[in-house]
């Protein structure tokens, strides 16, 4: 395509941590970047805290978007594409937010799916990279991480994990700097989570994109005097970053190494996630790409024209067979249930018990649906164990529900009734205590890895027949 004929476009990504714009002259295989700016608005912070985009975050976002619209127009952009990802997907008031953006800036926000996000990020992160036979690409955002596996530069597998640097910071690493206890808890959480994440492929190369990876690279270049053209980060580099980030406050990191303060706050979380992913994927180092979803949007537009999002979203695999989905669904649901086990054991709180019980029910529903894909003898063992887990959780949960109902009624009852109910509550609480203790013993003895092995063997044996 002639340079003159290539359109100038802008792509804005409204993410959990940042609002980021790239303006470029767009060619199908490359981009001539004219502007690249970002603002750390941290919309995800309010979504984590209150489930929606707060008024304050909404104002900050609108301000950034108006500014970026003007920037795009200054460069003569023909189109301005605005895509929104995980934080907006999760926010209960996303539709309201999108309408407000439209009304106040004239920009149309496209709320894209996790799959489209993964595909666009892959386009962006790899367009300058050399071709690899097998390749991982990870986009580490504030609210989620998208992991893609590609064979001969074609995506063959992808997953979206609802853990990002902002999320981990808000849930586990809010100290400044995070304490060693906080880091240890976050590390155990990530190890447990990733151990149970299904990774069906293997590759030696991992490209990481997103704000955290780029800031860590910058930190290494500044703090350890690495040449600017070096885009690799090893496990050792990340360990050194962690030492630095646990010794200095975010303000010191910002002052000494030229990082925005808001970014410096979430950097320990970003470093920890990358370290754990490297371990899980068993790669030696990562290559950091400064490009991501925005460049992906611009390349997709240059390749497919007006129907770019449709094309990207349509890149679907042929429908999987019943046996293939059995493997995926059963293991995913088993891992989800087991992930809650640690939380129940650690805190024993009502909500964690409820969540684990729901997960156990979902697993049982999947076991019922995929029973024909399993060897009957091994299946029976797995089913029994899952049923016992659900029953142990159910006895505590059902008592919680009864107690909740009785407490709700109290105010509307007569004094006489209240006295009787207080006695009933007393008995139920003591019964609940007994059941909570039994549940703790049961979960401590629940061998998740053995259950996983049995389920996998059950699926394998049936397939081999």
């Amino acid at each position: 395509m002639e340079k003159r004929a290539a359109p100038i476009c802008a792509a804005i990504d409204v993410g959990s941590n940042t609002i980021h714009i790239v303006v470029a002259r767009c060619f199908p295989e490359w981009l001539e970047i004219l502007a690249d700016e970002l603002e750390l608005v941290r919309i995800g912070e309010s979504v984590t805290a209150i489930g929606k985009i707060s008024l304050e975050k909404s104002r900050a976002a609108l301000q950034a978007l108006s500014k970026y619209r003007a920037l795009a127009e200054q460069h003569g952009a023909e189109h301005i594409f605005v895509v929104a990802t995980e934080a907006i997907r999760q926010a209960s008031n996303s539709a309201e937010f999108i309408a407000q953006v439209r009304a106040e800036t004239g920009l149309e926000v496209l709320l894209i799916s996790g799959e489209a996000e993964a595909a666009l990020t892959f386009f962006g992160a790899t367009y300058e990279a050399s071709a690899h036979e097998h390749l991982w690409v990870m986009d580490l955002g504030g609210g989620s991480l998208e992991l893609v596996f590609a064979r001969q530069m074609q995506i063959v597998w992808r997953t979206s994990v609802p853990i990002g640097s902002g999320w981990l910071h808000d849930h586990y690493l809010s100290g400044n700097p995070p304490t060693s206890d906080e880091r240890e808890t976050a590390e155990i959480f990530l190890q447990t989570y990733f151990r149970r994440t299904r990774i069906p492929h293997s590759a030696q190369a991992l490209i990481v994109t997103g704000g955290s990876a780029n800031s860590l690279l910058y930190l290494v270049q500044r703090a350890f005097h690495r040449p600017m053209e070096n885009k690799q980060l090893s496990q050792e580099d990340l360990a050194r970053c962690q030492n630095l980030l646990s010794a200095l406050s975010a303000e010191d990191i910002a002052d000494l190494y030229g990082q925005p303060q808001a970014r410096a706050r979430i950097l320990p979380a970003g470093a920890l996630i990358i370290q754990q992913v490297i371990k899980r994927l068993q790669v030696q180092e990562i290559m950091v790409s400064p490009h991501g979803i925005r460049e992906g949007v611009l390349l997709a537009y240059a390749r497919y024209g007006e129907s770019w999002l449709e094309k990207v979203s349509q890149e679907e695999q042929p429908e999987e067979s019943y046996a293939q989905t059995a493997h995926k669904v059963l293991l995913d649901r088993l891992y989800t249930m087991l992930t809650w086990s640690d939380e129940v054991l650690k805190h024993g709180d009502i909500e964690a018990i409820h969540k684990m019980r729901v997960a156990s029910r979902r697993l049982r529903a999947a076991l019922d649906a995929y029973q024909p894909c399993c060897d009957p003898r091994l299946f029976a063992k797995v089913y029994r164990k899952v049923k016992r887990t659900a029953d142990a959780l159910g006895e505590v949960r059902d008592t919680d529900v009864m107690l909740h109902y009785l407490f709700e009624q109290l105010d509307s009852l007569t004094e006489e009734e209240q006295e009787g109910i207080h006695r009933l509550v007393e008995y139920l609480k003591s019964y609940r205590q007994e059941k909570q203790e039994e549940l703790t013993v049961f979960l401590r003895n629940l061998d998740g890895e053995k259950l996983e092995r049995q389920l996998k063997a059950s699926l394998r044996e049936r397939m081999d027949r």
């Binding site: 429908e319 999987e320 067979s321 019943y322 046996a323 293939q324 989905t325 669904v329 029910r361 979902r362 049982r364 529903a365 999947a366 019922d368 649906a369 029973q371 024909p372 894909c373 089913y383 049923k387 006895e395 059902d398 008592t399 529900v401 009864m402 109902y405 009624q409 009852l413 007569t414 006489e416 009734e417 209240q418 006295e419 009787g420 109910i421 006695r423 009933l424 008995y427 003591s430 019964y431 007994e434 059941k435 049936r462 397939m463």
Partner: protein
């Protein structure tokens, strides 16, 4: 919730959506076996079994959601509402059983069992709960005021149970009028 009835004639190598439709038709047929008990509020066990069967259809729709038409979500939601109503009915039964246990009413109810027209008996309260309550001297130490208060609360619960049954029954009738079953089967026929 017992294990679901196994279904033969499934081809493991066939697309997931095809098998999902076969499973759902069977689960729906299982659910409608209990339709004849819906008009009788005394069929406690059968209404409980219906709740399990409804839950099973709903969960199956959710498990296979991505291999079914978009409309499957509406059917799952409708079944979710039905399940909630049957759940409220069941919760009332459990609370009544618990109150009767505590008040040491009729001998037959001390085990927290319900009667059913099919002759099956199923405990409404977990056996451990019954044991735990009976092993203590709770009943003996209830003061007169507490007993009277619980007795009065039990009457409220009986009313709550009536209301729960009425809501469920009205909803079921509406679904019948709207040909819910036929529409769900038609959805399964579509791509």
């Amino acid at each position: 919730m017992a294990r679901a009835r196994p279904i033969s004639e499934l081809d493991l190598r066939a697309p997931t959506g095809r098998n999902a439709r076969i499973i759902l038709r069977e689960r729906l047929a299982d659910m409608y076996v209990y339709a004849r008990y819906v008009a009788d509020p005394t069929c406690i066990q059968e209404l409980h079994d219906l709740r399990i069967a409804v839950k099973r259809v709903r969960y199956t729709l959710e498990v296979f959601e991505e291999y079914l038409p978009e409309a499957s979500k509406d059917f799952a939601e409708e079944l979710g509402r039905l399940q909630d109503e049957l759940g409220a009915l069941h919760d009332s039964e459990v609370m009544l059983a618990l109150l009767r246990l505590l008040l040491h009413q009729e001998q037959g109810e001390i085990t927290g069992q319900d009667s059913s027209s099919s002759g099956k008996k199923k405990a409404l309260l977990p056996p451990d709960m019954v044991k735990s309550f009976l092993n203590t001297t709770h009943v003996a130490v209830l003061s007169e005021k507490e007993q009277a208060g619980l007795q009065s609360f039990l009457h409220r619960q009986e009313q709550r149970r009536e209301q729960a049954y009425t809501s469920f029954h009205r909803h079921w009738k509406k679904l019948e009028q709207r040909n819910f079953r036929e529409r769900l089967l038609a959805m399964l026929e579509s791509k």
